[in-house]
């Protein structure tokens, strides 16, 4: 979709595209019974909007205009190219009245599409890619850049996933209450992964950085949609609160020179106070509900961090207690590693290092970063430097590399000869 701001209408179409693409594809998929046909029809409607809106003006309900137009364009298309699939879809279309859709129906369509994109019969990579394509309206090159995957691989994932949905008969429906315990976690994970894909590289330079920021915004938008659609699911709200509190700090994660700023050194005045307040309100409501789950506990941890006026005022005992709870819910080495960071603040670096050294995470970059920091604090500069080296070997992102190289130098060990020297 054109993003040229030269004509204000083109900008308006781009805005409508971002806001309405997922909804329109979701509704058209229900009407046509086929995702690819739905995408084509919605694409046609946006092309028509670019032609018509500059003269006729942006309609009062642009989303409704797109859905109605896409539906009509689909019927026109079927009459031109009458294949078997299209005849079936046309028959379905002609039996649906051409009238504005009810708000409730539109919401259900979005949920249906999200659960279809995140069907457990699809790989997690396919789920994330398809969700960004269909609900986020991102183009293949954007998704490829954002997820750091070759464009051809991304295109192939989309084609294969859509073909599997069609050939295997993945149903287009919202799971029943009884199915939700199995079906909700992949949806929440996909939204979370969309956010982290954007967050972990949000310091990337130039256009890439912009795409990453869009991923974060899209994940928060999806979390808000989910929370609106399923207000009774505590973990849905937990995910929303977690993303709000992470997103509140996004601007402060980068210094004026573009360098990565760790939580302890961030300028807390640059945090988004409105997002912090909103996240805290959700966390408080969840505490009253008393049905904790992994996303809620992670949100609570972020709430403790964002509650402290300065890094020194962080209630690390509270953070540690929450990590104990998280570790009981999800006993994974990654959670144990994060808990060790809190343990170091409460009990000192020595017991924390003992915990870290017992973990088996040789290929996990944060493991080496945490080890390096703890070794540095314990006065073992050579060992710390080696751990930073190992972490650097596992880091592709330029901003993160710069940060680790700086830390390695700060730890005071003579550089091994490779890599940049101070000054």
């Amino acid at each position: 979709m054109a993003s040229s701001a030269a004509a204000p209408v083109a900008g308006a179409v781009a805005g409508v595209f971002r806001a309405e693409h997922g909804r329109a594809v979701a509704t058209l998929t229900r009407l046509l019974g086929d995702i690819t046909l739905a995408e084509e029809a919605v694409q046609d409607a946006f092309v028509l909007a670019l032609e018509r809106w500059p003269e006729a003006g942006v309609p009062p309900n642009p989303g409704g205009w797109i859905v109605t137009t896409a539906r009509r364009r689909a019927i026109d298309r079927f009459r031109r190219e009458s294949t078997r699939d299209r005849r079936h879809a046309e028959a379905a279309l002609l039996h649906t009245p051409d009238e504005p859709l009810e708000v409730g129906a539109v919401r259900d369509d979005q949920l249906r599409l999200l659960f279809t994109c995140c069907h457990p019969a699809l790989s997690t990579e396919a789920q994330v890619t398809l969700t960004l394509r269909l609900l986020g309206g991102l183009e293949t090159p954007q998704i490829a850049r954002a997820l750091l995957v070759p464009e051809a691989t991304t295109a192939q994932r989309i084609v294969r996933a859509k073909r599997k949905i069609k050939d295997a008969g993945v149903p287009y429906r919202v799971p029943t209450e009884a199915e939700l315990p199995d079906r909700l976690p992949p949806v929440l994970l996909v939204v979370y992964l969309v956010y982290t894909a954007g967050h972990s590289a949000s310091g990337a330079a130039g256009g890439e950085g912009l795409v990453q920021a869009e991923l974060c915004a899209e994940a928060v938008r999806l979390a808000r949609v989910l929370a609106e659609l399923m207000p009774d699911e505590p973990e849905v709200l937990g995910l929303l609160a977690l993303l709000l509190l992470l997103d509140a700090r996004r601007a402060a994660r980068r210094g004026p020179d573009g360098a990565l700023v760790p939580l302890s050194e961030q300028d807390r005045a640059r945090w988004d106070a409105a997002l912090v307040a909103e996240g805290h309100a959700v966390v408080r409501a969840l505490l009253r509900r008393g049905a904790p789950g992994p996303y809620q506990v992670q949100a609570a941890i972020q709430a403790v961090h964002t509650d402290a006026a300065t890094a020194a005022q962080t209630d690390w005992r509270q953070v540690l207690a929450l990590y104990d709870q998280l570790l009981a819910l999800t006993p994974t080495p990654v959670v144990a590693l994060n808990r060790a960071v809190a343990l170091a603040e409460v009990a000192g670096p020595e017991p924390a290092l003992a915990v870290v050294d017992a973990l088996d995470l040789p290929g996990y970059q944060p493991f080496h970063v945490v080890r390096a920091e703890l070794l540095g604090r314990l006065g073992h500069p050579a060992e710390a430097a080696r751990a930073y080296e190992r972490a650097l070997e596992l880091t592709a992102n330029a901003v993160e590399r710069a940060h680790l190289q700086r830390r390695r130098v700060q730890v005071g060990a003579p550089s091994g000869g490779e890599g940049p020297r101070p000054g």
Binding site: R84, H119, A121, D167, A168, G169, V170, P171
Partner: protein
């Protein structure tokens, strides 16, 4: 309605399970098959003999050329299968989950190309 192949891959080289385990499996599969017939999902099913009894037929210059043994030299070979009728993948996966419990092994779900109801197209 769509049709799905539910394939069971078996390592025929592995030691067979104990007699009582085997008997339990036969009883469970029979009960599962019975329920499948009653629900209307049953199309066809069967267990296969070990792969040594397989013959591959190729045609060369219009004549049949036979090879002794299975087509693919893999450890796991098709040991048996069901063909079931189901409204969508979720329904087929639910049947496959019960099949997996009955036969005590992984079950591969693969959709057939055409919808059963579209046969006239």
């Amino acid at each position: 309605m769509k049709q799905y192949l539910l394939a069971v891959h078996t390592d025929f080289a592995a030691a067979p399970p104990a007699e009582d385990v085997m008997q339990q499996m036969f009883a469970d599969v029979e009960a599962f098959n019975q329920r499948l017939r009653e629900s209307g999902a049953w199309v066809f099913a069967g267990g296969l003999t070990p792969p040594e009894s397989t013959t591959v037929v190729r045609t060369q210059d219009g004549r049949a050329v036979l090879t002794d043994g299975p087509y693919a030299e893999t450890k796991e070979q098709l040991g048996g299968f069901w063909v079931v009728r189901a409204p969508d993948l979720d329904a087929a996966l639910e049947i496959a989950q019960r099949a997996s419990v009955a036969c005590q092994g992984p079950v591969e779900v693969r959709p057939f190309q055409d919808d059963a109801d579209d046969a006239e197209d």
